[in-house]
Amino acid sequence: MKKLKAKLQALKKVDYKKAARDFWYGKPHEERRLGDLYEDKTGLYKHREWRGVKDTLYYFNNIWLYNYAHMVTDVVKGGDPVAFLKGTLRYRWMGQTYLTVMHWYDRGMEGMRGEALRATAWHYRAMTSETIRQFTRMFAADSKLHGGKKNALWYKTLAHDETVSGCIFYPWRDVIDDVPLQMVPYFVSVHVNSDTVLHYIDAVQSIGLPADPCPMCQAEAGIFVLDDYPDYSPLMVTTNEACDGSVATSILQDWFMNKPLFAMPQPMRFDDPLVQEHCQREIEECWRFIEKHTGIPFDWNQYVKYAERYNQLTAFEREKWDVAANSPYYPISGVAQALYRIYYSQDGDRQIWHDTDKKVRRIMEKCVREKIETFPKTRHRAIAWSCAPLYYSHWCTWAYNCWGINCVINMDSLMFDQDLRTDTYEHAIEDLAWFNEKAPMRAMAVGGHDHIFQLWDYMERFHCDMVVMYDQLQCKGMQGIHGMFEDEFRKRNIHAIWVPHALPDKRTVSRGEIRRIISDYMTTVMHEEPLDPSLVDFDDSMSW
């Protein structure tokens, strides 16, 4: 009876007008308490966020239902659903990450509303769609899923390192499809389910590799050690990008795959004019290698067609940067900006990127036209520099929700900033070599200090007042320049938060530890209070 009375008393105190407003529009940022939605440790939601009627229904209909439906229809459209099923049950990276992909959306879009939610979701959708295209093609051609038989598609598919740009293969695009071998098994899988990659890292160490090389290279090699890679191509093209760790990966791949392999090097000090011609000759040698092993000649017209289409993507990317740099109306979240840019620029021209850019352009132009502040609680405009923790790429969503740190731009977005001329063969090969050299970790991590110090120019250009400085603990290139950054930050009086991590390996520095470091800086140095105190400390150690 007493309890009932207390409940009735509590009900009397409810501000129904406010409750109705919160139901219709969603709670104001400071009252959301997003941290209370998590189950302890697993990071699963007790219930998903109520974003107000309009945005909750948008998320449910246009993101959750739409993507689940497309995850089925896209596979069916791929033409070989049996291979998809076999692949899911055969490959760990597939079974552990495909169905769980909607949680990746949830983590990346927590707290988002309105146009930011819409533009960000289209970026995620495009990456999902391209991922489906890649694994569908891999499985359709995979001899391991077809009783050891090499079908016609096997001979018409090119395998390459995820760090070899798709642009290299444009001369064959209409007749041979190129699929980066580790893009889905390693890169995508880490973002969606951070547990998967640990098996691969441990596997390569189990055959004697020491634990200190770059964990990206370790994981890429570990996929082979566990025989967890599809066999879908008569050849393989690899590279030394990011670093010497990739050289070792190429050697292991050469051993385990036991098929023709071309390792296409990129010089470390790539902007030395003396190495340019060498780089161009390496690309031409790669093209001859493909011609030799596929029997299909280089086609200049195909190169021109796809390079010119790709230039359209670059042009729009620069428009996006312009809006991000000079206004508060940019509707793309930090994590979507980083992942979408790295995915499409590495992957090369595909129709899905054009379709997505068209949708995002409409949203962005609306935001600019109507002056919609997409991240209205921004206290700090941050630039994220160096290589990001893949298992916590959505840290910036958390940082905005918790502290108002809006990660406007990041290093990975700024690579590959190169138009591809197609007026003459000489110009084309020259630009393609430059493009290839401006890959993420070559241009700005191990490509010389003058590139990594471009940070200061970009800070100014994007009007940032804070740097989130990634500290990849196993990157020898970045470790070598750590002290110089410390000196420069002090000299220039820049607020910089060092975020240590081990790229894909969440065991070295956990997500919780990263949050603690940022929160400590915000309280002890910036003397600020969190926007959402429930997000300061929570345990998601067993989350995907």
Binding site: R48, F60, M102, W255, N258, W544
Partner: protein, 69 residues
């Protein structure tokens, strides 16, 4: 005839609304996540652990060139 059509349309609308409601409940209470975390992932993990895999370290370090067709 018209009545029958309307009744059928009403039934279909009711079924669609019920399905929509159930799906919304799955969405809102993260039942998809809970199912995948507690049922699907342990299931596939057991399968991957049991799978017989080729010991790639036994591959001779040489070159077997496939002839393209």
């Amino acid at each position: 005839m018209m009545k029958k059509i309307l009744r059928l349309a009403g039934k279909l609308a009711a079924i669609a609304a019920a399905v929509y409601g159930v799906l919304f409940a799955v969405f809102y209470f993260d039942l998809d996540g809970k199912f995948l975390y507690h049922v699907w992932i342990p299931f596939v993990n057991r399968r991957y652990e049991k799978l017989e895999r080729k010991d790639v370290t036994k591959t001779p370090y040489g070159m077997t060139v496939e002839k393209a067709e």
